[in-house]
Amino acid sequence: MTWRRAGREERPVALLWAAAATGALLLRPFWRVAAPFLPSCPMHVLTGLPCPTCGTTRAALALLDGRVLRALALNPLATAAGIALVVGGVAAPVWAALRGPLPVLPRPLPVSWRVGAVVALLLNWAWLVAHGV
């Protein structure tokens, strides 16, 4: 893996990331009110089995309440993404301003990385099915 220093061109993305993370946190009361009006998962309603993204809303609400373990139990991958959104939103503008090191992703991505991503999705889905989320 090669690395490069963050430049001025990273700042717009860093600011967008920060805005998204800040907005997600500030709208915490709104998510609680709006969540019940989201439609139920058709797959879960019809088959009783969760789809790969079931539990994401509940995990997000648990995460906003600071209940990380509860969120992980509901959907580990969505919780990891939520944590990355918030932590990254705080760190990205600072990192860009300080010109911190950034990884240069190989193109195309190595097969092992792609297989790993698919395996992670499948394992997450298996978790949801096994725990009756």
């Binding site: 998204a20 058709p42 789809c51 990385w113």
Partner: protein, 225 residues
């Protein structure tokens, strides 16, 4: 010494003029309308005119404007037609709460710009991740963000009652695919998968619909210019 004259390379193609919306000093409403007309009628040409630069201020302003219009229109129709919608929904657990109270709709309209920004970042990140996995990311993340921003030109169609949201959604997917193919210099097939696979993951039972829809869309996209 005789011989064939050296072949002169063809002159470089004339670069397309930049989108009116991104021209410095362009009048606000004229550039807004002209750019919207281009994306709705000649999307490939419009995306070819889109600069693939790290600057995001203008594209983000674009999606906030059109996203806000779309959310306001959809929520107004939701408020005006909520009784009709409730009577059409199947009376089943999980569906009765689908139509939000008026207060929630009003709050939704007020918070629309923030919701648009959150959705833009999250959706762009997901699409770009899938594009990377498919080997179709020829440009950086800012190119994906720009494409998604301008694909939301179709949100203005939410002013059409009942079917406006569906048309806006489907047409927005089409614009996203065309834009990703242009901006990342990749195939429309990879761009289509990058957009449809995350949607399919949201509900596996939708996979069949997505597969049929994706096949039809791929065939149609091959003919779009």
């Amino acid at each position: 010494m005789t011989g064939q004259p050296p072949e002169t390379p063809p002159p470089p193609a004339e670069p397309r003029p930049v989108l009116p919306w991104e021209r410095p000093g362009a009048p606000f409403f004229e550039s807004l309308v002209e750019t919207a007309k281009r994306f709705l009628s000649r999307p490939v040409e419009a995306y070819e005119s889109m600069p693939v630069t790290p600057q995001l201020a203008r594209p983000i302003a674009w999606i906030v404007i059109f996203g806000w219009i779309g959310i306001i229109a959809s929520q107004i129709w939701s408020i005006l037609l909520r009784t009709t919608v409730m009577s059409l929904l199947p009376q089943r657990e999980g569906m009765s709460g689908f139509v939000a109270p008026i207060a929630v709709s009003v709050v939704f309209m007020v918070l629309a710009p923030i919701l648009v920004l959150i959705g833009l970042f999250v959706w762009s990140a997901i699409v770009h991740l899938f594009l990377l996995m498919l080997g179709g990311a020829g440009s950086g993340f800012t190119a994906t963000v720009r494409v998604i921003c301008y694909a939301h030109t179709t949100d203005v169609l939410q002013v059409v009652p009942f079917c406006g949201g569906l048309i806006a959604g489907v047409w927005g997917i089409v614009l996203s695919v065309l834009g990703l193919a242009v901006a990342h210099r990749t195939t429309r097939g990879k761009a289509l998968l990058a957009v449809l696979l995350p949607l399919a993951l949201c509900c596996v039972c939708v996979v069949a619909i997505v597969a049929i829809f994706g096949t039809a869309m791929f065939a149609a996209l091959s003919r779009v210019r």
